[in-house]
Amino acid sequence: MADRRVFFLTFAVLTAAAVFLLWGNAWQSSYVLKLRAVKLGGLICVGLSVGIATVLFQTLSNNRVLTPSIMGFDALFLLMKTVVVFVSVGLSLPPVSAAAGFLADTAVMIAATLVVFVLVLRRTRQDIQLLILVGVIIGLLFRTLAGFLQRLLDPSEFAMVQADMFAQFGGIDAQALLIASLLLTLLFVWLWRSHRVLDVMALGRDPARALGLPFDQLQLQLLAAIAVLVSVSTALVGPLAFLGLLVTALTHSLMQSHHHALLLPGAGLIACLVLIAGQTLFERVLHLESSLAVVIEFCGGLLFLILLAKGKIK
């Protein structure tokens, strides 16, 4: 289902990417170009992950004002980071390479979320709403635990954790990026092949089962996919809560459709566009390198509330 809007968005993202790469005669220096390419790759990976993960999560939860971060994915990430610092300082372990660290982060996030999902879903007779509530509580628990451990760290160790507490688009490791993009490509191929199944799943458990869909099995697969997406974006740049909400709100008002063939690419591309355009603006025009994440979260939250109040989100 090729749609003009998807082409238009792709074109917009490509333009923004070109501007970002070549701003200020960057083609004269391959070093600058390479740095920017890595950063651009990071922005694209994160944008696609956040946008698509939020669409999937909203499809599963039948709720357009939720994002995976409500389930405490980012809290788990923080806890993990804190524990790593705590343990490696305690045992004076040597630091690992960024790529290995990234792989370990992602693996732990996926394993932990899957264990929680399987346990909770089995107990609650596949009730996703209850799963979300349990997720909120577990998220609080993780946050509190992380906070407690951080208090036990000395200031220099705490600074190591603090760097992970806010999303940062600088300092993305090229090797980690390569692994992430391979992982994402596989996942996106799988998701694209199931986009029609997703349309049926969005109807809800009972209607989907009545149409012969093995809903519970698919639900778990989707939750795993969301865990991978959130893990990748969180492990690359750190937690982002409101970007997903902003992006899906924009996607729904642009696409006006329940078809995932439009929603998935729409959300992924819009998120990329927001991140790339935002980064260009902040880094090149305003020279405020590090504040993009904060501003996106702030504006995303604000715009989201406005859309919600105006009844644009249904």
Partner: protein, 252 residues
């Protein structure tokens, strides 16, 4: 034919269905009646494999429904639940279109399109086809869901209180449509009904339930008597025949 053998279901140790043994005849309208909480919806959901039951089996033409692939089952049985809701915000025509999913997995063929159009027409939804489901009245929404099941084009149609929100005209039309489907298209219908007059005038076969058990079952004309219905509902019910039409009086 659907055969139910020693079916029992419990929810957190509360027995909901107890040792149900039944045969639902093919090519007939079977009415499932009984007081609130009797277990009618639960039984219907067990037959349609919407819930997994602890004990007992349901067989469809001799094969255990738990052994039939979900997609194949959805091509043989359509279920319209008592509480209707979908998660996504979709239009009436899209909902009806989902009825074709078990057949074409979302790649709508011209045949599918014809059947979808027919279902929309059949259930008086032409004027509503572009409306969002959450902007419809209760009865209109009910009709959209029934049209979706109709588009599924299955041998068996399981309907849980489909007359719930329908006005007189649409209720009567629906029963006539079901009758037509049974007689001309060889379909079989299992329908939960609360209005005894609809049961008496349209059903061929009756299954009466109370407290998770089958109280009586058989051809409607034989088993639905004033006495048996009075006992079933614990309410005085009189049955009269006016101009050849059997009807029940219970309102006062």
């Amino acid at each position: 034919m659907i055969q139910i053998k020693s079916l029992s279901h419990t929810i957190t140790d509360t027995p909901i269905l107890q040792d149900i043994n039944l045969e639902l005849p093919q090519g007939q309208i079977t009415a499932l009646i009984g007081p609130n909480g009797a277990g009618k919806s639960t039984l219907l959901n067990a037959i349609g494999r919407q819930i997994e039951v602890a004990h007992g089996t349901v067989t469809l033409d001799g094969s255990d429904i738990t052994q039939i692939a979900p997609r194949d089952l959805a091509r043989q049985m359509a279920v319209v639940a008592q509480h209707l809701a979908v998660g996504s915000r979709i239009r009436v025509a899209d909902l009806v279109g989902f009825g074709r999913w078990p057949h074409s997995q979302g790649r709508t063929t011209p045949t599918d399109q014809t059947i979808i159009e027919q279902a929309i027409e059949e259930f008086d939804l032409i004027a509503l086809r572009h409306r969002f489901l959450d902007e419809l009245s209760g009865g209109q929404r009910q009709r959209a869901f029934i049209a979706m099941a109709y588009a599924q084009d299955t041998c068996w149609l399981l309907l849980d209180e489909p007359l719930n929100n329908l006005d007189l005209k649409h209720a009567r039309t629906l029963m006539a449509q079901l009758r037509r489907m049974v007689e001309h298209a060889g379909k079989s219908v299992v329908i939960v009904l609360h209005d005894l007059n609809y049961t008496l005038s349209w059903a061929d076969h009756v299954v009466a339930m109370c407290d998770g058990k089958v109280v009586f079952t058989g051809p409607a004309a034989q088993v639905a008597t004033a006495q048996s219905l009075t006992d079933l509902y614990e309410t005085p019910i009189q049955i009269s025949t006016v101009e050849g039409q059997v009807f029940a009086r219970y309102h006062r």
